[in-house]
Amino acid sequence: MVVFLQGCKLKCVYCHNPDTIDTHGGEDMDIETLVQKAIRMKSYFGETGGVTVSGGEPLLQATNLIAFFKRLKEENIHTTIDTNGRILNHPVTELLDDYTDLIMLDIKHMTEEGFKKITGQKNKETAFLMAKHREATGKKMWLRYVLIPEITSHPELLHQLGAYFKDFTTIEQLEIQPYHKLGVHKWEALGWEYPLKNARENTEAELQSAKAILSNYFQKVKIN
């Protein structure tokens, strides 16, 4: 079960949920209602399933998520946060350390310049700091990397990504997210201009060669 939280401080050029960027949008949901919903789905989760909170950027609502995840853990439901890793304050560390079974951490770009270009913000280091924090707690995480031809796909960038994380023991897998244009209509619906108009989707060969490079560094690489 995936819960999308509203609001994000980044505005990534390829965002496929741009409707969740605005921190004032969305619909208020009662925590217990969501918990009950999750319980109705519990027997479908199998060994690997559970509740995933995505967004937007979920950590903007860390305090509420603590209450939500606390309840889910009481019900023995697996919890996952899909995050860009921008925030690492006290409620966030409590949420991650005590109540979050898995984080899926988005690595946008390996260079400051590239990070700025994609997100419109400075400081690529925040996601690395979160990864280090997670590593120190010994709890599992997955990395996610959006592969955009010409923008993030350069072999040198992939080698940098691999080299940086290769010794992390808590990273179970790296997921390559092939860039796609499915979100374009949402940008149009919001009346925004889509910034990546000229970008193209990856060929199968490009995806496979990126996978081959990253497989040198990570125990499991998956193409989503």
Binding site: R40, M41, S43, Y44, F45, G46, T48, N224
Partner: protein
């Protein structure tokens, strides 16, 4: 080679572990004593043998010709079908390791006129054939059929409900089917021993000679004749069916011959096979361990057995296709499940059966049904999930639920969804009633909404905005009446079927005094639930024509719809099932059968829709219903799991004949990789059945595939889809049925 054959033939059955099966007819005990459950993976499986490939090529050629000839390859118009009435027929004798055809040639259909001669005439005529003069004279002048008997006795009330579409698909002009012979008995015991047992039974049925006693004595006498005929049928193929099978090949062959006897004699809508895989595995495993056969040969037996089952045909008229589309035969084989003692019934042969969908390609028949339990071996669950994703040819039923609710761990699935204990229980099939149309009686003063014909007394017409309580009160009166007429029809039908078209071959392979379920059914559940929800939660005003009959409904406001895991409406559906079932349970039944009910439509959801006016949920006149217990197309908008959860709320105890749900999901939404898809489908099945649901048809494909198959059928000769409790070859559906399938909900998220 010759030496080996001699060794294998010389094997007797003394090495099987003994038990009560040695002293009484008890196949279950034989399985219990000798089964070897398998927990491994699918890596042992092998491809088709050269013989199988050659044979299957002939079958493919014939089925292609059959399509070109408008659905019928050929018909024998001289012979009345029966157990031993045709001489031997072969596909390609050199390559056949399992022999036997219904007639003397592949895909040649046979006349079985005892259910009703008119439908045979009609079917022949529609395909440009004529019965021989002799047969025509016999059945026009001298022989009385089941159909003749039923219509002698039907009253005007029954005819009215039948003609107006309140009752549809009743087996009153064709064979009722659904009875599953325990075909394994022929292999395990040989026919001589079975005759001996039946003779003992006959001798023990003593007077006073009441109707029931006389009838039973006559039935058992018929069964003994059928068994003798089976020996003759075997002789045509040089098979000694009088003695037990002594090796794997014979066990498969004997079991098939027993089934063949049934489909030579009867053409019931559904002629299930039962649950033979774990039984056959015992023989196969023994021959493998003794080195008599290889895995290639083991798979060859199963491939060729399954090929034969795929070639079963009955002679049908075009009108039949409206309710049972795609020329189905429901050779339903249940696979997997658990024994009461905690062991699984999954064997290597369960895998071999599923593997035929690769060796021979996807196919609707046999209707492979996986009996699901959380305790099934993980490897098997994953393999079933993979097969479902890759072929859309199998269905799943909740073994844990049925075994604990119904009591036996040795059962088959009759037709689509119905539990039937093997060799100990039968059922009387009774199609279904149109519950949505019954609801309209409640709003139309007890009159048919299309013709105005009075059906039920004591219902006042309703004016203005519909009041929920008032409609419910009227609905209860309407259900009571329809249930009573339905029950009358069923009693007549089964009385006459026993009298004029008794299933002597199948009944010969069942205990002499079996339990009987009478299997009623309903259609239009989601329409009823959504209509009542609209009346309860929105403001619904009927629009009447000059005759005071509803032609449309004005709906103001929103209302919850069935299929979104919302108790406000889901419990209305649950209660409607219970209410109608409770009415049926009050009525006396022929042969003291136990009333059961299904929520199942086959493909009749289309024809039911045609016969039903506009409904208060906003559905227009003529629009097809959702199949079975499915939510209405496009109204289950909260994802697949919410939709499944809604259906799982229908209580199996109120619908013991089965609750059919057909589920279509696009591959991507199950996961990015095949591995994820397999795991997620396992998770979905586990969750759904954990919620107490009974049945799930699984389709995994994109709508585009179906659209392409409509445009280019030649590229999709074996494209198989699950419809409602069975599967069909998509390109054999009519355009209208194809469009209806395409309009169904394809879940794009879990």
């Amino acid at each position: 080679m010759i030496l080996e054959e001699m060794v294998s033939v010389a094997t007797n059955n003394n090495d099987f572990k003994k038990g009560v099966w040695n002293t009484s007819i008890n196949v279950r005990d034989f399985i219990l004593q000798n089964i070897l459950p398998y927990h491994g993976n699918d890596h042992f499986l092998v491809g088709p043998s050269p013989k199988t490939v050659a044979l299957w090529n002939v079958c493919k050629k014939f089925t292609q010709e059959e399509r070109e000839r408008n659905g019928v390859h050929s018909v024998d118009t001289e012979t009345i079908s029966g157990i031993a009435n045709f001489k031997a027929g072969y596909i390609d004798r050199e390559n056949e390791v399992i022999v036997g055809l219904q007639t003397d040639a592949l895909l040649k259909r046979a006349m079985k006129p005892f259910g009703g001669y008119k439908v045979v005439q009609k079917a022949l005529e529609e395909h440009g054939f004529q019965p021989s003069d002799e047969i025509n004279t016999l059945f026009s002048k001298y022989v009385k059929t089941h159909n003749d008997g039923v219509f002698d006795v039907y009253n005007s009330e029954i005819k009215k409900l039948r003609n107006l579409g309140f009752l549809t698909g009743l087996p009153d002009n064709y064979a009722r089917g659904r009875i599953i012979g325990d075909y394994r008995r022929v292999a395990l015991y040989g026919i001589d021993r079975l005759i001996e047992a039946k003779k003992q039974d006959l001798a023990s049925i003593k007077g006073p000679m009441t109707d029931a006693v006389i009838r039973l004595r006559e039935e058992v006498a018929e069964q003994i004749k059928a068994l003798k005929d089976m020996i003759v049928m075997g002789n045509h193929y040089n098979l000694e069916l009088n003695r037990p099978a002594e090796n794997a090949q014979e066990a498969v062959q004997w079991t098939y011959m027993a089934y063949l006897a049934a489909v030579k004699e009867q053409d019931g809508a559904a002629m299930s096979l039962g649950n033979v895989a774990s039984f056959l595995d015992i023989y196969i495993e023994r021959d493998l361990q003794n080195g008599f056969i290889s895995e290639e040969e083991a798979q060859e037996f199963i491939d060729q057995f399954v090929m034969k089952l795929r070639m079963v045909r009955h002679l049908r008229m075009a009108a039949y296709d409206e309710i049972f589309a795609g020329d189905p035969t429901w050779v339903t084989e249940a696979i997997g499940g658990m024994l009461h003692d905690g062991r699984t019934k999954v064997t290597k042969t369960a895998f071999r059966f599923l593997h035929t969908l690769y060796n021979l390609g996807p196919s609707p028949e046999p209707n492979i049904t996986v009996l699901w339990s959380p305790y099934l071996p993980t490897n098997f669950k994953k393999y079933c999930s993979k097969v479902a994703i890759e072929t859309s040819s199998i269905q799943f039923e909740n073994d844990a639920l049925m075994r604990t609710t119904r009591g036996s761990d040795d059962y088959g699935i009759a037709c689509c969804v119905s539990y039937q204990e093997l060799g100990k229980q039968i059922q009387f099939f009774g199609a279904r009633t149109n519950l949505a149309k019954t609801l309209l009686l409640a709003i139309n003063g007890g009159r048919c909404e299309i013709t105005g014909t009075k059906i039920v007394d004591g219902i006042e017409p309703i004016q203005g905005v519909l009041d929920y309580e008032k409609v419910m009160a009227n609905f209860a009166i309407a259900m009571k009446k329809v249930a009573q007429v339905y029950n009358d029809a069923m009693n007549i039908i089964h009385y006459m079927h026993d009298k004029y078209y008794y299933e002597k071959a199948q009944m010969a392979l069942i205990d002499t005094n079996p339990d009987i379920n009478i299997a009623y059914g309903i259609a239009g559940l989601s329409i009823v639930a959504d209509s009542l929800s609209a009346i309860k939660y929105a403001k619904v005003t009927p629009i009447f024509n000059e005759e005071g009959l509803t032609v449309d409904f004005k709906i103001e406001g929103n209302f919850p719809t069935y299929g979104n895991d919302d108790d406000r409406v889901d419990l209305i559906a649950k209660d409607a099932v219970k209410a109608f079932n409770d009415e049926l349970k009050k009525l006396a039944v022929y042969k003291n059968a136990t009333p059961t009910m299904s929520v199942l439509t086959i493909t009749s959801n289309v024809v039911y829709g045609k016969k039903t006016g506009a409904t208060p949920d906003g559905r227009a006149y003529g629009v097809p219903f959702a199949p079975g217990a499915n939510p209405m197309h496009g109204r289950d908008t909260n994802g697949a799991i919410a939709s499944l959860n809604s259906v799982s709320k229908i209580d199996y105890r109120d619908s013991l004949d089965g609750i059919s749900n057909t589920f279509s999901i696009v591959p991507k939404s199950l996961g990015a990789t095949k591995e994820e898809q397999i795991d997620n489908l396992v998770g979905t099945l586990t969750g759904y059945f954990d919620h107490g649901a009974q049945h799930l048809n699984v389709n995994v494909f994109d709508k585009e595939t179906l659209l392409d198959a409509m445009e280019h059928p030649e590229n999709h000769p074996q494209l198989t889809i699950r419809v409602s409790g069975y599967a069909v070859n998509f390109i054999r559906l009519t355009k209208e049925q194809q469009m209806e399938v395409i309009s169904r909900s394809f879940h794009e998220s879990l």
